[in-house]
Symmetry: C2
Subunit: 162 residues, 2 copies
């Protein structure tokens, strides 16, 4: 057994012991530091009663980094392109809807090889304002299942608007 | 009459002829080129029935340039700080609210001396996607009247949130 194989074997054993998917251990999706200063692509409100209301009810903003912006404009996403789905509570007032507390931060990052089992995109969610309380436990399969409807745009729902 | 006075006199006569406020002629608020790539501060939805629904019903996003971001964080706004109020139609679907066409682009720019009659801020609006169809015809007095409630924060409604 070579040293590399021994290390791999140890990692596999460790993953099995912890019940964690190896891919998730090897390439966790990073918290998108600084995304509040990225490009704001669009926003949307999902009300209670919508099929995605649990957990996505509220007002969400989509932020994109520079490579993802280029991808939106060209249709081709370089590795490292990141979309952030920033979900806030929707507070209903007198004929207004305002932003409340943050519910979660969703992340979708391009890695054609790394995340080939989910269309070349890695998916993660961070609870509230946490940078380490992770919400995705299936390697992103559930996220990807929904994004598959957008196969013609490399699984991206967002369209850029001027 | 000096040459400067003669020029001023001519400008005043022209302003009177055109029925345009001199201040607006001398210092029109510029269209905020590139604001879609500035910092997104916050968003809000105003429904029909709200006192400001005409003309502000819809979903609006507030974008700020670098000096305005610094102002939000320090409470002091340098000349050239700009806030953009980007108002889109709110499209109501099945338990969702999405963005529609742009209704107007509102601008608030700091110029302590230039705009001293409206709290040191210049106000303008641009219709839809137009860069030259201006909406403010009173030198910003109506805008300022509403913003006066925020005198403690230099007439700014927006608060920065991380």
């Amino acid at each position: 057994m070579t040293r590399t194989n021994r290390r791999l074997s140890t990692a596999l054993a460790l993953a099995a012991m912890l019940g964690a998917p190896l891919a998730a251990m090897a390439d966790p999706v990073a918290y998108p530091e600084g995304y509040r200063h990225w490009h704001h692509a669009k926003s949307m409100v999902i009300h209670d009663g919508h099929p995605l209301a649990d957990p996505f009810a509220g007002i969400h903003h989509i932020y994109v980094n520079d490579p993802a912006l280029e991808g939106l404009q060209t249709g081709r996403y370089a590795d490292g392109s990141v979309f952030v789905f920033d979900l806030l509570q929707a507070e209903h007032g007198d004929e207004v809807l305002t932003e409340g507390e943050r519910k979660l931060v969703g992340v979708m990052v391009k890695g054609a090889e790394t995340y080939q089992e989910t269309g070349g995109w890695g998916f993660e969610g961070f609870a509230g304002d946490s940078r380490d309380q992770r919400l995705v436990s299936d390697g992103g399969q559930a996220c990807f299942a929904c994004h598959q409807s957008q196969a013609d745009s490399d699984y991206v729902f967002t369209r850029w608007r001027p």
